[in-house]
Symmetry: C2
Subunit: 207 residues, 2 copies
């Protein structure tokens, strides 16, 4: 790893624990093992380190999307059609993968926590955080469940309420087990339980 990469690495770790504002350039430099002044040979400001992290994450999210076989976020119609054909077990597996990606992936989990911490102090971060973890998730799944209802895979008449019922527990559990890495098994068990309850409700004879 180059010094520049190590700076990004240590900065993300610190930002995800103490927040952007709570982390000093000196904190980062200390972790890297150089003087704070030396850091400015690699980045012209603290903000530039942050921007580099955000860029890196957008690359990784696209990779994740491709790896999990997700359709382009911007093409909801395509998404609905794709998911309209998958089984509930596949949906369960997918939820688990995405949950674990944000909870455990070494980069994504720190990135998510950094956004969660910093959303309140920085309007730009606030928009990014809401965009990814609230609006996009709900919009996406509303279209998905709408299609699945139409195809008779799920019962229901309010796709958006379904989307919130599906996603809110995932959001809640992500927040709850965020800082408790030793409880990963418990977290996964809780997730499994919620998704099974969701499937039980909307599948089959649920009214």
């Amino acid at each position: 790893m180059t010094t520049r990469e190590r700076i990004v690495e240590e900065a993300l770790t610190l930002f995800s624990i103490q927040g952007y504002q709570g982390t000093s350039v000196k904190n980062i430099a200390d972790k890297v093992g150089i003087k704070d002044s030396s850091l400015y040979k690699h980045f012209s400001s603290k903000k530039e380190i942050f921007d580099t992290i955000v860029q890196e994450m957008s690359v990784r999210m696209e990779e994740m999307s491709r790896a999990f076989g997700l359709p382009d976020e911007k093409n909801l119609a395509e998404a609905a059609i794709l998911y309209g054909t998958i089984t509930i077990d596949q949906l369960l597996g997918l939820s688990r993968q995405i949950f674990l990606f944000y909870l455990k992936d070494e980069f994504a989990s720190r990135f998510r926590r950094m956004l969660a911490i910093e959303q309140y102090r920085n309007r730009e971060i606030y928009e990014v955080y809401r965009g990814i973890f609230m609006n996009a998730a709900i919009t996406y799944q509303t279209a998905l469940f709408g299609e699945m209802i139409q195809r008779g895979i799920f019962n229901g008449h309010d796709p958006e309420a379904m989307a919130v019922n599906f996603y809110a527990p995932i959001f809640f559990l992500l927040n709850k087990y965020d800082q408790e890495p030793q409880k990963e098994a418990e977290a996964l068990q809780a997730l499994e339980r919620q998704i099974r309850e969701f499937a039980r409700i909307y599948q089959g004879t649920g009214k």
Copy 2:
């Protein structure tokens, strides 16, 4: 209002926007209209202002609890018995009241946001936040729904999954509409929708 009270008031507002660490004693003093040094005649440290806010909130939460007719949090058996006898409409009304309390009550909403912001940097705040907005809520409602199932008011076989299904959307919506006071009507509509969907699922013929 005494100067001391005005300091607490302005401090809470600033802490709820910028966090504890993001707010300087000078920021607070400026809002109150005194010099930062003068503030030390009222509080011996910035931390003491924070502690005063936490104490004040615990008093207000007890008041709220009494006003809404909630049983003692520590006595879940009592809670279950009480709620085991109420109707679903009463439960809906209660959810709405508590949601609005944390979303709109001038003190509680700022307090909640302050905890949400500061939970990541301060272990003590982290415990308080989780205690109130995650663990207590779920434990409480698990007992409640267990009792309601036993009494035949609700259908279901996993009270804890029900509790998460009930509470996670509230938690999600609180987080989503937190910083968007102009969207209060939308927030309330979304809450109503979720609670109605919840009642539809577990009441009557839901399997």
